[in-house]
């Protein structure tokens, strides 16, 4: 049973690397959705014996949200915004994948140092940390607002897996709360991106920085 879970962990890590090099926005959305589905299935496989009915229902909710609802919302936002179809990275793809690999090495080291209870599944802590770092990478090095939403989703996946590493069932409540937050965030950002692109004809955050209220030239005399 655990071998299967470990296979999933490896898959999650590969998805992280893939996210770091994917240029197409729609593939990115699909990859994030796939990662969410895989992570959602993980608790069913990580425990020993048959899973509880509650866990099954919960996994179903997560898979539906992350696999169907979020990608649809994001795809819609992408279409409506009429922006370029690539992620417009601020750094090159080789640099992204190097950073992602570095994050994986750092999280392996971090995973061995963190004072955590022994996890049942091998590599689960480093994988979760690496996923969180990948999420941050997406947020900080991609210029579109929509990739920031994707980054938050990836971080959420990472947190979810990290929670699984510690306890198999307790974090479900916590996860539920986080999921709700992310759901609202995706919703709001989807709407906001749509409106921003309608007002400004683009959703490039670098351009949005024109909106900031504090410039030395105007105020600092």
């Amino acid at each position: 049973m655990h071998t299967f879970a470990e296979l999933i962990i490896v898959f999650v890590i590969l998805l992280d690397l893939a996210l770091a090099v994917t240029g197409s926005l729609s593939s990115c959305i699909r990859l994030v959705a796939l990662q969410g589905v895989v992570a959602g299935l993980l608790p069913l496989l990580a425990g020993s014996g048959a899973p509880h009915a509650r866990a099954v229902v919960f996994a179903l909710v997560i898979v539906t949200l992350k696999g169907a609802v979020f990608p649809r919302l994001l795809m819609r936002a992408r279409d409506k915004s009429g922006a370029r179809r690539d992620v417009e990275p601020l750094i090159s793809y080789p640099a992204s994948i190097l950073l992602c690999l570095g994050a994986f090495i750092a999280s392996s080291w971090l995973g061995s140092r963190l004072p955590l209870p022994q996890a049942g599944v091998a590599w689960i802590v480093p994988a979760s940390l690496a996923t969180i770092f990948t999420g941050f990478l997406l947020i900080t090095t991609r210029s579109k607002a929509i990739t920031q939403v994707l980054g938050y989703l990836v971080i959420e996946n990472g947190i979810y897996i990290f929670g699984l590493a510690l306890f198999v069932e307790q974090p479900l409540m916590v996860e539920l709360a986080i999921l709700l937050d992310v759901f609202v965030a995706v919703f709001v950002m989807g709407i906001a991106i749509f409106h921003i692109s309608r007002e400004f004809d683009h959703i490039d955050t670098a351009e949005l920085s024109e909106l900031n209220d504090w410039r030395r030239g105007e105020y600092g005399k």
Binding site: T140, T205, E210, G220
Partner: protein, 655 residues
């Protein structure tokens, strides 16, 4: 105790009611004013009861906030501050109904009343809190509510500037208080005042300095006063009365409370307070003499009076550190009594200034004049307030200062540094009193006597009935506190015992009771003489009507109102003498010919400390901050990276 909580509930509910009724100005006024008056009536009962019996009460509810608890303590010290608070806020609310009528429709009166009542509730909270978190909650609420009230006439740029300075000062003070309470409560489970462990000597000194600066920024003694002469005149007059009368006393209250936690006192603490107090009362009175606006004169006079209170505290601490209990008790008693007295007469004076502003539309001294004929009811009330502020018997200002003088004289017998402290405080008090007398003679004379200098002053009208009622009530209380000072000694002793220590009150009661009897006997004698003179006058005049003639016009052929002594000309000899300190701006012509031509005169009082110290410091800090403006570039990705890097750093640091 329950009634005090009830008063808080009344205040908060009437505040929300006033806010809800904001559309209808007169209803909002009613909601706010009735609420404040009812809360005052409810709160005065337990406060007076505690002062008369001397038993402290405590109520505690759990509060889920970390380190916090809803602990309310009503001991004689709290009660002694609560009494003037309730009296002044209740009367100010009554006053405000008439005063704010002019603003109906132009200003959000519902919001103003809500802020006023929240301010009162916050001050009650500050005076009764038995937990540092609760205290800080009240403290911040007080700052926020009074900030809103200072901004009442926000369309004027100088008001916005005053409010900004006020907000900055309040924030800085709160920061220091947080540090002080953290130091005090380090190691205890909750920040209850009763559970503070006794600090080590070094910590105690640090707490003292932090509390002095933090509470000083609220109390407004020099050099932490810069916000006070800006913010107090900017607020509506009944709010100025509350702010100057009682809100700045929260700083004194907090300082006394914190001093109770860090016993035994060091002698240099006393000296620090003494010197700051002496400087504040001297410079406060001096700056008051140079101001051109009535409310600014009063604001500087508040600085002077806070200085007197602080000086008395310092004298007492210096004496207590040397074991001179009677001296310390007299000084502490004088400080507390002056808190009460100043609240009463400064409230009265600000209301009087408000009546002038309300009646004549301006409070610029050079634009007033002759108001005694146009506002015949306000004028004697303002005169009485001025006499109290100058510490003239039989009014109440004298009693508190008299106790401090007694302490100062008593210290002359003791050896060494205490005697020097006594000499310093006696000299400072006497000189400040003389300067204050000059300042109030000038302000009252320029506003009320002579002929009106402008059209507006000529058309001034009398204050409304509710305004007059509040001022009359305060005059009555001032007179009562002045004449009945010996009766105040017992409650005062209880407050001193709960605030400073039992030994002081016992020693002071013995030393003060007989001299205070002489004071009130003298006051009664003076009143009797005045009554006798009045009776003789009316008996002499009988039914005869005295004729009214023109004032002697110094032999000028065509006198005009502009030839009168103005406020500037009255104080010019003194202000010229102190020019190195006052640094007045302006110029006046030197007359060298027999037939001088046209000439112009101008004079402007400078905010010396603000311009010489705070403004350069602020500019320097801002320039330093601009060096880091590259950090604030507006790129969201990099902002998030700052957060990630910080979080990672913290994680690795703790690993």
């Amino acid at each position: 105790m329950l009634l005090v909580l009830l008063s808080i509930v009344i205040l908060i509910s009437s505040a929300s009611l006033a806010l809800c009724l904001g559309r209808n100005a007169s209803r909002a006024q009613d909601a706010g004013a009735y609420g404040a008056a009812a809360a005052s009536a409810a709160g005065l009962i337990p406060a007076l009861q505690v002062l008369l019996t001397g038993t402290a009460e405590t109520i505690s509810f759990p509060w889920p906030v970390p380190l916090g608890s809803f602990t309310f303590t009503l001991d004689p010290l709290s009660a002694f501050f609560l009494v003037p608070l309730y009296i002044l806020t209740g009367l100010s609310a009554v006053y405000g109904v008439d005063y704010l009528k002019n603003y109906a429709g132009r200003k959000p009166l519902g919001l103003a009343w809500a802020a006023f009542n929240i301010l009162t509730a916050a001050m009650v909270l500050v005076f009764t809190a038995g937990n540092a978190v609760l205290f800080m909650l009240g403290w911040e609420l007080m700052a926020a509510a009074s900030f809103l009230l200072v901004l009442f006439e926000h369309e004027k740029p100088q008001v916005r500037r005053a409010a900004f300075i006020y907000l900055t000062a309040g924030g800085a003070g709160a920061l220091m208080l947080l540090a002080a309470f953290s130091l005090l409560g380090a190691g205890s489970a909750a920040l209850d005042f009763s559970s503070f462990p006794s600090p080590s000597r070094g910590i105690a000194s640090a707490v003292f300095l932090l509390a002095l600066c933090g509470f000083g920024l609220k109390a407004g003694f020099i050099p932490l006063h810069v916000w006070l002469p800006e913010a107090h005149p900017a607020a509506p007059s009944q709010v100025s009365a509350v702010m100057s009368g009682i809100m700045i006393k929260t700083g004194i209250y907090g300082l006394i409370r914190v001093l109770g936690f860090i016993k035994p006192w060091e002698e240099w603490w006393g000296w620090t307070l003494l010197i700051i107090g002496a400087v504040s009362c001297l410079l406060g009175a001096l700056f008051a003499l140079a101001q051109h606006e009535l409310k600014r004169v009063l604001a500087y006079s508040s600085i002077e009076n806070i200085g007197i209170i602080l000086l008395a505290l310092g004298l007492g601490m210096a004496g207590a550190a040397c074991g001179a209990d009677a001296l310390a008790g007299l000084a502490f008693g004088g400080a507390l009594l002056h808190v009460l007295n100043h609240a009463l007469f400064k409230g009265l004076l600000f209301m009087g200034a408000g009546s002038v502003l309300h009646g004549a539309g301006t409070a610029e001294l050079e634009a007033l004049g002759g108001l005694a004929k146009r506002m015949p009811r306000t004028a004697p009330l303002f005169l009485a307030g001025s006499a109290a502020a100058c510490a003239l018997p039989p009014l109440n200002g004298f009693a508190g200062e008299f106790l401090v003088y007694l302490g100062a004289f008593r210290s002359l017998n003791s050896a060494g540094s205490t005697a020097i402290a006594g000499v310093v405080s006696g000299l400072a008090l006497a000189s400040a009193g003389a300067l204050a007398a000059a300042a109030f003679t000038r302000a009252g004379g320029a506003a009320f006597l002579g002929e009106p200098r402008t059209e507006r002053a000529a058309k001034a009208r009398e204050a409304g009935p509710l305004m007059l009622f509040s001022m009359r009530a305060l005059v009555l209380l001032c007179l009562l506190c002045g004449l009945a000072a010996p009766l105040l000694l017992a409650p005062l002793g209880r407050a001193v015992a709960s605030g400073f220590g039992l030994s002081f009150s016992a020693a002071a009661a013995g030393a003060a009771s007989v001299p205070l009897l002489y004071v009130s006997a003298g006051g009664l004698l003076l009143l009797a003489l005045i009554a006798l003179a009045a009776a003789r006058r009316s008996a002499f005049l009988g039914v005869k009507m005295p004729a009214a003639g023109p004032t002697w016009d110094c032999g000028y052929a065509a006198p005009s109102a502009r030839m009168q002594y103005g406020a500037s000309s009255f104080s010019q000899p003194l202000t010229d003498f102190f020019q190195p300190i006052l640094r007045k701006l302006g110029q006046y012509p030197v007359i060298s010919e027999y037939f001088p031509g046209r000439a112009s005169f101008s004079s402007e009082a400078q905010a010396v400390f603000f311009n010489a110290v705070y403004l350069p410091a602020a500019v320097r800090i801002r320039n330093l901050a601009f060096r880091f403006s590259w950090l604030q570039h507006g790129r969201l990705q990099l902002y998030i990276m700052y957060i990630v890097v910080t979080l990672l750093g913290l994680l690795l640091w703790k690993l």
